[in-house]
């Protein structure tokens, strides 16, 4: 029991380090909880959501103090996001755990591919812009 607690905390530390570096710790914590600790998908997602809150509050306070947050017009993003996150949560709770796990797997694969090729995607967009620009000239 004590070992399980320690191992859980160690997993949390790894996920937190990635999260603190801005890489999305949940992508590590959720699979770790389901694979190594036998937690079901929805339970792992619940833990990840709750675990994110204290760090996010601290980071946001620091960013607000440093005036890095662009608050103008932000409600145009936050209000639809709030509504859709409620819908997403209820949807996740209503489908079967195995389907949710598979969809989560697909989501992880897409995010991983995006991260692996983010530089290429970026240069694709910037090259396109450069081309457009020269065409105008």
């Amino acid at each position: 029991m004590i070992w399980k607690i320690i191992l859980l905390a160690v997993c949390g530390v790894f996920a937190g380090v990635l999260g603190g570096m801005g890489m999305g710790g949940g992508a590590l914590l959720i699979p770790a909880l389901t694979v190594f600790f036998g937690v079901d998908q929805i339970g792992a997602q619940a833990v990840n959501l709750v675990a994110f809150i204290p760090m996010a509050i601290l980071s946001l306070i620091i960013h607000l103090k440093n005036k890095r947050v662009q608050t103008k017009g932000l409600l145009w993003i936050i209000l639809p996001a709030l509504f859709c996150s409620l819908a997403g949560s209820f949807f996740a709770l209503s489908i079967s755990g195995s389907l949710l796990k598979r969809l989560f797997g697909a989501f992880l694969v897409l995010l991983a591919l995006f991260q692996l090729f983010s530089k290429k995607i970026e240069s694709f967009f910037t090259n396109k812009k450069v081309k457009k620009h020269t065409e105008k000239i």
Binding site: M21, L29, F37, G43, A46, A56, Q70, P80, G88, S89
Partner: protein, 122 residues
Amino acid sequence: MENSIKQKGYMAITGALTGLANGFFGGGGGMIVVPLMIYLLKIKTKTAHATALAVILPITLISALVYFLSGKFDFKVGVPSLVGVVLGGIIGAWLLGKLSADWLTKIFSLVMLVAGVKALVL
């Protein structure tokens, strides 16, 4: 940020996609909202990372509440994980800029790829 109708529409789409994914998958909102802010809304990278938190925090609070009230949060698993995540977050913030994020991102992406395929197929 340009305050046109089109820009507001893009903002609403950004919010909707982020909220849907974050609520449904219990996370990952940051990995969606940051690229959308940079490429679609044309916000500077540093500002996007900071502003993303202002979006993700409220939606995570509301999703966490829904999951919690449905009895999906297991304290025996959740409390040790949470303590670890907070500790790790502090270490991560401290390491930021001290470690080369480039190879770390590559390794992390490969781990995600393996975990994703495993969850998808098994």
